[in-house]
């Protein structure tokens, strides 16, 4: 009974810590994005709130919370109110299977540094990623606005298409690690990170992950010059903030999963494991921002062509080759 209570307490502490750290980092990721993107475009970026604009995320949060929370006339109220939460919650839940360090000993108890070590961790990530489509599609539909609806439909089509190549690109990794658990995938990268042997899978995963988190050049669901803001056109205040937050948490989660699957997770010399994971997540995020600062948005048909005619066949081919090589080595 005592160990059960202890385990429960440890669980709650871990959940709270991960949630808090994620929230803070997501808030500052917005700052990093605005600052770095500005430098890519020879601007300064936010520099008024605090030194280097470091208080900008705080100011934004205060603004979002104090703004009026409007629900448009004719909106499907229940779905309209719940959609942003779906996006944010699924994004947070995805991080629960990402390990951020090796097991540690706490008063004689073995505490794994992961919120939950699911043996089907990777499938859980995909399930949550698919569920977040509901947030986008329902949010767009429930707004009762043509821009919202168009954005929602585009979002659903895009995310479902890229889910496929996202999943298929990871099969070779699972084949090499012999496990769906993210903890064991990190264990399997003891000698070398998987990016060395699976560069193609890495590339496909990066492209699909950017499409999944709806970032430029795949931001068709919110394309501001055609759809105003797409599926979150009608949202204001903190509900819009939740969509925004979800997007940035999503970006970090994909950074985390990318580093776990291909870059060796928390492994690295000298520095503690959590720091290494954060560094890797940050590098992936910086790369995504760099892509945003460089590439223009794809056209809708280009997006679909890239997904169905290029990425999925390539991913399938990659699975075949990995399987064949694996057989030969055995």
């Amino acid at each position: 009974m005592l160990t059960w209570i202890l385990g429960f307490i440890i669980m709650i502490v871990k959940l709270t810590l991960v949630m808090m750290v994620l929230l803070v980092i997501a808030a500052y990721l917005v700052w990093v994005e605005r600052k770095f993107l500005a430098r890519l475009q020879i601007r300064y970026g936010p520099n008024r709130a605090g030194i280097f604009g470091l208080l900008q995320p705080l100011a934004d949060v205060v603004k979002m919370i104090t703004k009026e929370d409007t629900v448009p006339d004719g909106a499907d109220r229940a779905f309209f109110l719940i959609a942003p939460a779906i996006v944010a919650i699924t994004a947070f839940l995805m991080f629960s299977v990402v390990p951020f360090g090796p097991d540690i000993n706490l008063w004689g108890h073995r505490v794994p540094l992961v919120v939950t070590d699911l043996n089907i961790g990777l499938l859980f990530v995909f399930a949550m990623s698919s569920l977040s489509v509901y947030g986008v599609a329902l949010g767009g539909w429930a707004s009762n606005s043509k821009y919202g609806l168009l954005g929602g439909i585009r979002g659903a089509a895009q995310m479902i298409s890229y889910e496929l190549s996202l999943g298929l690109s990871l099969i070779p990794v699972v084949m090499m690690a012999h496990s769906f658990s993210l903890v064991e995938i990190v264990e399997a990268q003891m000698k070398y990170p998987f990016i060395i042997v699976q560069p193609l899978a890495f590339l496909i995963f990066v492209i699909s992950a950017m499409a999944e988190s709806k970032r430029i050049p795949f931001d068709l669901p919110e394309a501001e010059n055609e759809l105003i803001a797409g599926y979150h056109t009608e949202y204001s205040g903190m509900r819009f903030g939740l969509f925004f937050l979800g997007e940035y948490v999503h970006m970090m989660v994909f950074g985390g999963i990318l580093s776990v699957l291909f870059l060796g997770g928390w492994r690295g010399p000298v520095l503690p494991p959590i720091v290494w994971l954060l560094i890797k997540i940050m590098l992936v995020s910086l790369f995504m921002i760099w892509v945003r600062g460089t590439l223009p948005r794809l056209r809708y048909d280009q997006l679909m062509t890239l997904g169905w005619k290029v990425l999925i066949p390539l991913a399938l081919l990659n699975i075949l080759v990995t399987g064949a090589v694996g057989m030969l080595i055995k």
Binding site: R39, I42, Y44
Partner: protein, 178 residues
């Protein structure tokens, strides 16, 4: 295959361009700290200037008020004992003014002029109504030398008013008054 190579090359050059930009100094001007020197004819707050003798230039001809597209200028003309006209009150509503500069162009005496001052935003909209004492300044503005009375009504070598060939005697407009 060739098109793939071309696409990769194009992508690489794009990424290189943005990467180089990181190390360049941003071209943004940081406004409140750095104020760009404005050209002399930049259109900002309106003033009423004086002529080189220190007299008010405005002769209250109503031309600026007539030309103003948003009707933000109003005044009432009056006459000094020596016959020189002036505005007994002059009012500009800067909350309406669009700083188009048409009043300056219309003014025959260079009295009304636009300055480069533009930082006078306020929270109370009524405080944007500027009276004559707020508008009148003690200098000549952009036009240092000009004085209307040195050119208007001056007797030339061809004679005074109504003395040219075929010209009628001027009408005393005061006789038309009710």
């Amino acid at each position: 295959m060739e098109s793939v190579l071309e696409a990769v090359k194009a992508l690489a050059s794009g990424f290189a361009t943005t990467f180089i930009h990181i190390f360049r100094k941003p071209i943004t001007e940081q406004y409140p700290e750095y104020k760009r020197p404005l050209p002399i004819r930049a259109r900002g707050r309106i003033i009423l200037t004086r002529d080189p003798d220190g007299e008010e230039r405005c002769v209250s001809c109503y031309l600026c008020s007539a030309v103003c597209p948003v009707s933000c200028i109003s005044m009432e003309g009056a006459e000094k004992p020596d016959g020189r006209r002036y505005a007994s009150w002059f009012r500009i509503n800067f909350a309406r003014c669009i700083y188009c500069g048409l009043c300056e162009e219309a003014c025959p005496t260079s009295a009304i002029q636009l300055t480069t001052e533009f930082e006078f935003s306020k929270k109370d909209i009524l405080s944007f109504v500027y009276e004559k004492e707020d508008l009148l300044v003690d200098h000549q503005g952009k036009d240092k030398e000009y004085c209307f009375y040195r050119y208007a009504g001056v007797i030339s070598k061809y004679g005074g008013k109504g003395e040219h060939i075929g010209e009628e005697k001027p009408v005393d407009i005061k006789t038309n008054m009710p």
